[in-house]
């Protein structure tokens, strides 16, 4: 069905190229983070997103710069796809004052208010009420924005999940609940923790439009995101997306992964979102080896720059330790 060369195809190709670029960017970034972790330049808890890139890349395309994003501790991909500069994310990983949270947050607490990126929450389910509140403020002020709230399948077991879906539905608030269902809450499989594993079904019981989406397909995520955002801008009230995805790496750098076997991971790697989109674009004649090579070298340049700038970034003076406990007023 390829219609090579037509304007429609080229718009589609452009869209796909952007999705691919974002996914590659996130993956390369995290692969570099693993290297930097092994040399102890990055420390703390670090949760990798590898395998799940289609969600961030697709979803962020559906949002406007005025919309708000609330994220989790596995948020490098969310932050990068949202437009938080790679250099400031990397500097944060290094604990530098040049980082997006001045080195006070680290991997789990990336914030960028200028992009309405509200972190970076390391308490499972902890971001959901904040998202409801952001949407409440927008609704009360008559602003058209939506708030996208990302969380994992583990959060579905928390009381806050149910409290917040109820509240957002009750008050007709524009929250896009985005559940990244990667099948594991740390090491506990969804089926071992949830009586009903169809999460979109559960969300629909709160009376909100809910869709289950192939979270390993960036185009499908982007389409679902657009559909949900359009629904919410058209009539007030929340929507729910269950993004069925999989993480190829361990929960965190400390995880020995005793809870799942390698065959399962290998099986899911067949659905690698980057490989899938690459293959699709090749089949449709939208991607050449040259383009791919060019993308790769663009990534390397950005990444090398981010790492060297992060390494060179200053540390916050220890005398400033107690700043930002209370707001500094002029």
């Amino acid at each position: 069905m390829s219609r090579r060369g037509s304007p429609a195809t080229s718009a589609k190709a452009k869209h796909r190229t952007e999705l691919l670029r974002q996914m590659l960017r996130i993956r390369r970034f995290e692969e570099r983070c693993v290297e930097l972790y092994s040399t102890a330049e990055i420390r703390g808890f670090m949760h990798l997103y590898i395998g799940e890139e289609a969600v961030a890349a697709g979803l962020m395309q559906a949002l406007s710069p005025d919309d708000a994003v609330v994220s989790t501790y596995r948020e490098h991909g969310h932050a990068l796809a949202r437009g938080v500069p790679m250099v400031s994310v990397m500097a944060e990983m290094f604990g530098r004052v040049t980082g997006c949270s001045r080195g006070r947050g680290g991997s789990m607490h990336l914030f960028d208010v200028s992009r309405r990126f509200y972190g970076g929450n390391a308490i499972v389910g902890g971001g959901l009420p904040i998202a409801v509140g952001l949407a409440l403020a927008d609704a009360m002020r008559g602003r058209p924005q939506v708030t996208a709230c990302l969380f994992g399948d583990g959060a579905v077991a928390e009381g806050e999940f149910h409290e917040c879906l109820n509240l957002a539905a009750l008050w007709r608030l524009p929250v896009l609940f985005c559940c990244e269902n990667n099948l594991y809450a740390m090491g506990t499989a969804l089926a071992r923790a949830q009586a009903e594993t169809d999460l979109a079904l559960r969300a629909s019981s709160y009376g909100m439009p809910s869709w289950a989406v192939d979270g390993m397909d960036a185009e499908a995520v982007a389409a679902a995101g657009h559909r949900a955002v359009e629904t919410m801008r058209g009539s007030p009230g929340p929507c729910f997306l269950e993004l069925r995805t999989y993480r190829f790496r361990a929960h965190s750098m400390y995880d020995a992964e005793r809870y799942r076997d390698k065959a399962e991971v290998e099986h899911w790697k067949q659905y690698d979102p980057i490989d899938r989109l690459t293959a699709r674009m090749r089949d449709d004649g939208e991607l050449t080896d040259e383009t791919l090579t060019a993308l790769g070298s663009e990534m390397d340049t950005e990444l090398d720059g981010a790492v060297s700038e992060a390494q060179a970034g200053a540390l916050e003076p220890v005398e400033d330790l107690t700043r930002f406990v209370y707001t500094e007023q002029p």
């Binding site: 949270s101 080195g103 929450n121 902890g126 904040i130 952001l134 409440l136 403020a137 009360m140 509240l167």
Partner: protein
Amino acid sequence: MTAVHTTYRDAIREALREALRDDERVFLMGEDVGRYGGCFAVSLGLLEEFGPERIRDTPLSESAFVGAGIGAALAGMRPIVEIMTVNFSLLALDQILNNAATLLHMSGGQLSVPLVIRMTTGAGRQLAAQHSHSLEGWYAHIPGLRIITPATLPDARGMLRPALECPDPVLVFEHGSLYNAAGDLDEPADAVDIDNAALRRTGTDISLITYGGTLPTTLAAAEQLAAEGIEADVIDLRTLRPLDEASILDSVRRTHHAVVVDEGWRSGSLSAEIAARITEHAFYDLDAPVERVCTAEVPMPYAKHLEDAALPQTDDVVAAARRVVG
């Protein structure tokens, strides 16, 4: 300026009304704040005056609506969240501690949370162990929060305005036994200082240090002591965090004796913190060890005689002061 006869409850309501009237970003939300008029009737009539958008009844989901207050504050609103009692606030502790208190710091100064959370605290009404505790000292442990405890009519009336002007989360602890306290209050009211403790009575012999619901108890004790020739300073802390250490030390350096009266449990309490600070900074000014009058280390019982026995009473304060002054 005219003086009106009012109550602590009505003074808080008037402060809420003023805030809602003067700033369209302000709204009140919580359990039963609307149609019911507030569990303690503080918000009675506000729904009719300001409508359901700004006087929001919430489901019984403390974590969600407290967290929603945080989110709304981040997006430019000035929410006042009411939690019925301090015991229920524990269901929202994750949001209060892990988000409200930390977002500014974790974000490197990007996210201020201008949120006011009001709740009832304390015992004395035979409500037993799940409605009677004084946990404000726990909250005062947490950097990033501001903890205020209005104990008088002017404070009930005047503390809300500076709390709303504060760019950081402010928790207001209203002692349940104070709501019916009555007296005359000037209108229009002055905003109250929420940075400094207030000296409610001056004396030369001993410093009685307290806050909130035990202020009347302590003032009554001071009167009894005066009849015996012992003149007490009574310090109303008003703000438990940041603590006005200077006012405490200033008083103790003048009187050389101190008793801390705190309705919290003694172990790991705010009274422990105050006693420690006096020891750290004014040890050589003391003529006797600091004493504390606290709640007995039991979950609060229902039966009146047992509840009375558990709580700091005027006679307990008098006895402690006598021992200290020797």
